[in-house]
Subunit: 360 residues, 4 copies
């Protein structure tokens, strides 16, 4: 048919145009790069919005169709941006958290040969708050017996109300350290003030940055300047992009031992305290080389679904689980409703291990 | 300085390249259009993903940098898409709801010279559910006295539980019509089944499509095929884009008398039943030519903030307000906690009018 | 010490008061029940808000402290409500979806000895839309080869825009049925209009109710009146409570063969299309006796995390997985970006089976 | 009728029981209070979960119906809690932010007779970031001319990425102060580190706590210990309850000059940067005595709806508006897309004033 020949001819012209466009766009990128070199010498910023505006005006004035003015603006903005991105990409480091920068999984080596990431699963357990020596030692003994290696316990508690129990502070850290040492455990505890990072180093094996402080950038910077692993919690309503950039704040200061922990996000659903964003686990593992844990207590706020949620987290690729355990949850000074007692924890841990998903 | 001359030269070359790119992209669009004409004759679809894929492979193979393969793919996909959009834009109507299609505000003429849009404010009030003749007539009398022209009242109630009061059905519509006629009011009531649209026409002056049915497309299509104004509620968690497309379903079937109503969106905040999305009012007015109302009862679920919220809605540009009124809210068969009683309604309406924001 | 004896005495008095309160509250419940019996004979509603109001006023008037008026109101409202709930509980059936009503897991028996629930995992796969006989037969052949028993395929497509492909309608159902029969598969397809439920019965083995129609109660009622299994999708932003009540609409009409499917909820996170609410799986399994599936395609909108998400769903206790498969996703008329091609599906299914979490 | 007499009799018995319950519950509260006094002397905590547990067990054991065990537990827990709350209420201060504690509106007196709250509206304007002396002086001159009294400008910028412009720090504060002094303006700027509160006092007339730091409790405490007004921004996804408690942290340390500012909350809607929660304005004004402002720039992220949103905020009762203004938004180092230029700001402010809603 006539039209097939016609079609062929039109398509050939299209291919020619494509090739010419490619040649021009590539040349354009080279010219932009050369301009960048000159600007760098002059010490002026590479992105010049005024100049870009003028180029667009010129193109719009020249445009005889068939594209509308707004399509021309959109297309050329994209072409301009690509050239500029090329420059930035050459000059600015890619994100340190990115798997593009660092292909292999980051494996964090803790004292006593405990490792995070790289295949083995990590169980982190302990009370919401350090309340007393007795309470802390009771949990520590139980964790040791259960084979747990890392004990959590809050000394500085960020609480919604100033009249709620605020934690025992440095005393709490000391109590945690002593109990952990007695039972051969490592410690993790949340630090909330940049000024406390340094003094905490003797007491914690892992510094925790809490959800409410995920974008407390001064705290992140302070944590980035010490040589101690950091566990960074996802903010209450943080996007994954913000979460990774928060980790980047720590890494950009030199501390590469960063672990991420998903702890549920804020949604409209009321039957759980937060919504455990399980997809975040494989996405964070894919985008980043850092270990990813899941806090099953805070994400759900319900003791009755901890086992299936922990199994789901491990099946999705999580490197570890965090869970709250208290000798007498009913009397706890914080999070009374959602902490496991010691028997419940033992059952929980046994069921998680029995699933075969917990890699020891 | 040397480098300034150099910069000037590079910039001139950039301008030349820009112009050449513009010429090529424009020619490309023409070629794609010609191909479309041929394809239309042949009756084959214009978008040919296989052909697009081959063109991209060819370009990637030709690419010698400095752009990466992925940048080349992205840029050319955008160029391809612009050409294709151009074709669609010429053939497919733009959205009927769009202000680009229809610059002037749509003004809806109801019986008894009641108008919606175009400057005057509309107050729509009445009980959540039609429960009895007495209840309905009591409200109707009060509304007439207050100067309200349009009465709402639910006859088909979409309730979360099948065991809750489901409304009086067609009987409810008849009761509403009779009370409204007695007191010189117009009626609005929600229809939930495509099969009920036709039978409802004798009873309602405005068909309401509820939030839970905003994307019940069969119902939207049925409402689009009658000659009766439609009030479309925003879905519980619908984006504005989805909301406007739902209105487009109605308009695309021929019914141009569509009103939009913001009724709060679902968020994590618990002190209000929903979150009144006040920005939606100016955005919907800007994107679309349709009248925009605000349901202050459903968006807040709180009687104590109805006056400031109604004032905010009018200040933001809303064409009307909907509010629930019941003779004895405590005994109401639905929404008992949030309906105003008649005295409360009178105070509410007086305060809204006193603000000067309600244009009579 | 003096004070310990004093404490003992005060505690004894407290115990006495508790016992007296218990006796009175229990007697109160009996009296309320007797009143209910009289009212039932008289045909008047049991809940009388006016009477309740008067009782509260009387109590407030009598109150001499130390409780404030508002505490007295709150406490007695709770006592009143408990008595009333007791009455309702005796008269109204508990929810049919509830595990309290029906302890054992509901197991749905499909033709060809396919079962849903009760231990075995179900894989449901197929294209987003039925587009042609060829496309449908290609997928059916691949599914049969992979050992899949149930094929999905949309014939009535609820699309955001009225100008997008709306599905092939009854023709699509016929094509799906024929392909399924040829390859020994069962069929599942979404129905969107109550009037189509009946005609669809010859073509589908499972009726799907889509997310946008989860609270289209007329459709739920129509699906409740046929003898055909129903797969109910969770709404875009539905709470679990609303989801279970939507299922109750179906069951309350007599159809007990209902399956639930989590498909992601709408949140602020943008790196996934929706947020897969993994906690919903164990909670729905606990609250209800119905089978629970997870749609990994719609919940994530990303092909690159389907394997970990499917594994997480099964680890959390899901009875099955739904996934979209298309012979040439790039050319699909809907959901082009997120459907697996046949090779990708085979890899996906192999990896899910290899995890040991898929119970065959 | 027989049954009416019977009903009467039953109702009389009900009234008697109610009175007896009231007497017992009141006596119970007195006994619990007496126990509290003894415990206080002994220095043991008043809430004794073990004792409560035993009382519940005893009651359940005694229970002969008709209430179920779980109803008895729920009812008595509520009775126990009411007695305990009574004790706390007597000992613990009510919230300082609450209007119950402080009936009158808090009016904040700034230098130069500028007041916030108490009737007059406040316009706060200025650039997102302080970038240079010239930029800052240009805006300051324009604000003075427009009649604005308070200038904003960020010196410490909390940015998602560590590689984005982080602000000029203390230098920025100095530039802001100098420009403000030159043009007779007051200054407001965000402080992000507890250690910077003290040094900032010479430069800012109002300390701003940003959204990301709303629950940085160490920062709140530090701001609570100085004698300088504080503007507290609502967190990205903070509930109103959390927002008020964050303000309580500041007030509980002694600083009573606190202003709240709604700046949009995070939702699924994508056509605005955040969702302006307009209902928060009347609710915060009702719950609290503090001034409430609205940041129209951050809540919407769109220049095209600033006027209707500012009018809505004022109509809803806001005491002031915050908006971003930059001499050349296109070249801004942060928030380039959403800042007004000076002409746009003048038009914006004129339209807001012309509405009559801005009280000068």
């Amino acid at each position: 048919m006539m039209s097939n020949a016609e079609l062929e001819q039109l398509r050939n012209r299209l291919d020619e145009i494509n090739s010419e466009l490619l040649a021009l766009i590539s040349e354009r990128a080279t010219v932009v790069r050369d301009i960048g070199v000159v600007k760098e010498k002059q010490g002026v910023p590479k992105f010049d919005p005024e100049r870009e505006k003028k180029m667009l005006e010129k193109l719009v004035a020249e445009n005889k169709g068939p594209f509308s003015e707004s399509t021309i603006r959109t297309l050329f903005k994209q072409i301009f941006k690509a050239s500029l991105d090329l420059q930035s990409a050459e000059h600015k480091k890619s994100l340190l958290v990115s798997r593009k920068t660092h292909k292999e999984d980051t494996v964090i080596l803790l004292p006593q040969d405990v490792v995070v990431g790289g295949g083995a699963s990590l169980m982190v357990a302990g009370p919401c708050s350090i309340e007393s020596e007795k309470q802390t030692r009771t949990v520590a003994a139980a964790l040791q017996k259960a084979g747990v290696r890392v004990m959590r316990g809050g000394a500085f508690k960020p609480r919604t109300s100033p009249y709620d129990f605020q934690g025992l502070g440095m005393d709490g850290l000391r109590i945690l350290r002593e109990a952990a040492d007695e039972y051969g455990l490592l410690t993790i505890s949340e630090i909330v003030d940049p000024a406390h990072i340094e003094p905490s180093l003797d007491y914690v094996d892992i510094i925790q940055i809490g959800a409410r402080n995920m974008q407390n950038f001064e705290l992140l910077k302070a944590a980035g300047e010490v040589n101690k692993p950091v566990l960074l919690k996802r903010g209450l309503a943080a996007t994954m992009e913000e979460f990774l950039h928060a980790a980047e704040y720590i890494m950009s200061r030199g501390n590469t031992q960063v672990m991420l922990i998903e702890r549920g996000i804020r949604t409209y659903e009321k039957w759980t305290r937060n919504t455990l964003d399980i997809s975040a686990v494989p996405i964070l593992k894919q985008e980043s080389h850092l270990p990813v844990l899941v806090d099953v207590t805070h994400s759900t706020g319900r003791k009755d679904i901890l086992v299936p949620c922990a199994k789901a987290a491990l099946a999705a690729g999580a490197d570890g689980i965090m869970v709250e355990v208290h000798p007498e949850p009913a009397t706890a000074l914080s999070d009374a409703a959602q902490q496991l007692n010691i028997d419940e924890f033992n059952t929980f841990f046994d069921e998680v291990k029995a699933s075969g998903l917990y890699r020891q």
